[in-house]
Symmetry: C2
Subunit: 218 residues, 2 copies
């Protein structure tokens, strides 16, 4: 095993360190974050720092970096109190990645990156029509992180839009069937394959499979 | 498209809602969280709420739920200031899942779930020997979330231990090569396949692939 220690991490070349630290924890939830300004100028950016905060109430957190391309997004969330998260699919993942480019303020990535938007009655933020899992959220809390200048945005899920047949009988969304993609690091996209669904773990009961892929590709 | 609205989400059966909300954002970083008490009683639990907070300094966040099985973990992190995150591999993912069972306090999941531990000089928290990506972290900040009683734990990466050959020339850790697993929801485990590594996105430049899987299984 190779051991990279704290002092060495700090001395790594900047881009190398950024790629390493961004990839180290493994695969990350991958979504397109849709917002609008009060003037109706929409914004779309790819985000991989979304995390599950709790199921009841249904809360999702995300980290917004203090950088230019995200400022429209954060300003829109603050001013409208609403945003959407939409999954990324293989057919158009390159367009989703392209939303990370630094377009000038006032340019909508929906237009420049070829995404159709749609709206749900009474909800201001735009959804991505090409996604088959779309979530509408209302802002609940913003935490400014003094430690590194990032912003934690906490929202409550108020709309779940999915294509028919993606939610299983136990409530689990079937991202394998949806063909939802994931990312490790900044730019490396993956398509997961089901390996196995396991029974609820209890002491004194051996772990066992409820539903396995008959032919996992390992 | 099916639309589940806020009022309906609140009325869903508890387990169904928990599975739906836990799976809705997509794939999540999957790790084994290793800690020790000051008395040397070790603890290991599977965690899928780890998120990237920033690369410089190298900060990782995670959500700890206010429930019994995690209390040892949180107490250990508070008292020793250290913990480890270790990736999950297909050969033993069922044992990793089993660490989520509610074992009595004082029982080490390293022993009951068949994991060998190892230590790095000067670092108290145990690493999982069977993982090929192991991270050592020092506690930097704890945020109690009033909104739902969870705890956000922010740590700085001080050790990165990886098998030789997993870190690419650009710094990105190759989780495909490592065979790192991911999870969607509470119990459904996936093994991702590389789809494509994309070039840094710039306005006026069409998105393009740097490194593609010649035969993605879609």
């Amino acid at each position: 095993m190779q051991n990279i220690k704290s002092e060495q991490i700090h001395q790594l070349e900047k881009n190398y360190r950024t790629s390493l630290i961004n990839s180290i924890i493994g695969y990350r939830a991958l979504n397109l974050l849709g917002t609008t300004s009060n003037e109706g100028i929409t914004n779309l950016c790819i985000i991989s720092s979304v995390f599950h905060l709790g199921a009841n109430p249904p809360l999702i957190g995300m980290v917004i970096r203090p950088e230019r391309e995200h400022n429209d997004t954060l300003r829109n969330i603050r001013s409208t109190g609403q945003y959407t998260l939409n999954n990324v699919l293989p057919e158009w993942y390159m367009h989703a990645h392209q939303t990370s480019a630094s377009y000038p303020s006032g340019v909508s990535e929906f237009d420049t990156c070829h995404f159709k938007k749609h709206y749900v009655n009474g909800f201001k933020a735009p959804f991505v029509e090409a996604s088959n899992v779309q979530i509408g959220l209302e802002l609940r809390e913003i935490i400014e992180m003094e430690i590194n200048g990032t912003t934690l945005v906490i929202g409550e899920i108020v709309h779940i839009l999915t294509a028919e047949g993606l939610i299983g009988s136990d409530g689990t969304l079937d991202h394998g069937k949806a063909k939802t993609m994931t990312v490790a690091g900044l730019d490396t996209y993956y398509l997961p394959q089901l390996f196995g669904q396991l029974a609820y773990a209890k002491p004194e009961v051996e772990p066992h499979v409820l539903n396995a892929n008959a032919n996992p590709n390992i």
